[in-house]
Amino acid sequence: MDNEKLKEKIVTLVPEAQQEENPQFLTLVVPPEKLKVLMPHLIEEKELDFDYLFCLSGVDWGEELGVVYHLTSTRHNHSVEIKVKTENRENPEFDTVSDLWKSADFFEREVWDLYGIRFKGHPDMRRIFLEESWVGYPMRKDYTDDVNIIEL
């Protein structure tokens, strides 16, 4: 399916989806509460069939925190980039996709560890790299650490 058709298809599933300019992938920003509606469709519908989640990244845009999902279909060879954003920096939370794509399990733990974004329904929401006693989330833009980060 080409990007235009993909966009049409996803917009019928989630009417609030907004396209962002990106020459490489079709990029759509969806509201966080719609993630639970959209994601099962992406993997289960035969003509979409996004069976391979190849990258999941947490991003701190300054005011908003969010997650970027890179999906591709091994059968149809089309790709899509889904973004979710939230302005809640105190207690950000999205629905997990680790029940659909198992590769998301570790990715989501990494995002929780470094960005402090919780994933609702994740089976094992622990920090993956840092100790449980670590204070703060190091990849956030407002994170400061006078001991471990040397500013030049």
Partner: protein, 375 residues
């Protein structure tokens, strides 16, 4: 304390207990700790604990210029340093729409493949060692040394090269380079037959690896396990074929696929890939075009604001670099989708109900590099 005197015999076997494998275990090849839940000798669950060598490379990237980032990528997967460098170089060149000279493209492809051979040889050595065949270790490292010598002669470093730059190479190749590579290929073609004689048909090895840690194609895709491990399950996921970069469009090579999905299939894929890599090098080594080894780039590289994703096929699978730029000299966000991190995820699922000795074989067959997991 638990009463153990009057327990029926089978209840001790039913009891589950945990042991820590690592962070200093020789078969994890680095500082990875696996908390293994055992029932007798049967593995019930494997919980990996990472982070012993977490250096925050992604955070460091946000403070560094693109030339400096090249040096950090070496330290992720130190066995395919050239390929990691290549990913960042392609990302920057793609974003700035810089055409690098044909000479650079050829040299990069040859070095990538040499690096892949070196990595697979080291993997072969340690895989054999993990399964109790110490001879492999000496044979594999002896032949890998030849590649490292070529690297050393050409650009002075053996492991962490940082030889690629955005726009080209650090310096031109050594005049001896082509001859030495051709000599090596000739030598290696002979030696790889020895590898097969030692391990590939060895009955003890077959017993240890066949039908151990079977991963179906669907499982591999769902877990995102690609690279030689995924191709052992029949998933055609070679980035060099699917999204060709560098000179891979100009050469003929086969994507090695096996359908069994067990440890032995993953082993055979890597052995065959060494041969394919040698084929690629042979097609290119005599045809390196004359020209510059670099194009002139600005000393301070600023990517146009936007998002970029670049993938390359490293020795372990798809290495993805996701970069968000806001137009400054440092990236706003740099994410490395490293193959070992993703491949580690499947270890628990495929090693359940196997013996603990098989866990060593499965872990080794996934070819995990710990700094690549932790970043």
């Amino acid at each position: 304390m638990k009463e153990v005197v009057n327990l029926p015999v089978d209840s001790i076997e039913r009891e589950e207990y945990h042991i820590n494998m690592g962070p200093q275990h020789p078969s994890t090849h680095g500082v990875l700790r696996l908390v293994v839940t055992l029932q007798g000798e049967i593995v019930k669950k494997v919980q990996p604990h990472c982070g012993y060598i977490h250096r925050g490379i992604e955070k460091m990237c946000e403070k560094d210029t693109y030339q400096q980032i090249i040096h950090l990528t070496d330290r992720m997967d130190y066995l395919s340093a050239h390929i990691n460098n290549h990913a960042v170089c392609l990302l920057v060149e793609g974003a700035l729409q810089v055409e690098v000279p044909e000479r650079v493209v050829y040299i990069r492809t040859i070095l990538d493949e040499l690096n892949r051979i070196a990595s697979h040889q080291l993997w072969w050595s340690s895989f054999g060692m993990d399964l109790g065949g110490l001879t492999c270790f000496f044979y594999g490292l002896r032949d890998r040394e030849k590649i490292l010598d070529i690297f050393e002669e050409s650009f002075g470093s053996r492991l962490l090269h940082s030889y690629y730059l955005p726009g080209g190479l650090m310096q031109d190749i050594h005049p001896n380079f082509q001859n030495r590579v051709k000599e090596f290929i000739k030598y290696n073609r002979r030696k790889i037959k020895d590898y097969d004689r030692i391990l590939s048909g060895n009955i003890i090895f077959l017993e240890r690896s066949q039908d151990v840690g079977v991963m179906s194609k669907e499982l591999a895709i769902n877990y995102g396990v690609n690279g030689p491990s995924g191709r052992g399950s029949g998933w055609a996921c070679d980035i060099r074929k699917k999204y060709p970069y560098a000179a891979y469009e100009k050469v003929e090579f086969n994507e090695v696929l096996r359908t069994e999905g067990d440890t032995y299939a993953r082993y055979m894929v890597r052995m065959q890939e060494i041969r394919e890599s040698m084929n690629i090098i042979e097609q290119l080594i005599d045809n390196i075009p004359e020209g510059d080894f670099s194009v002139k780039m600005k000393p301070i590289i600023k990517l146009p604001a936007g998002e970029y994703y670049q993938r390359v096929e490293s020795a372990r699978g798809e290495l993805g670099v996701y970069c968000i730029s806001d137009g400054n000299k440092t990236p706003f966000r740099m994410k490395f989708r490293t193959p070992s991190f993703v491949n580690l995820g499947v270890l628990d699922t495929i090693s359940r109900e196997m013996k603990i000795a098989d866990l060593v074989a499965i872990g080794a067959s996934l070819d995990l590099v710990i700094p690549d997991i932790d970043r």
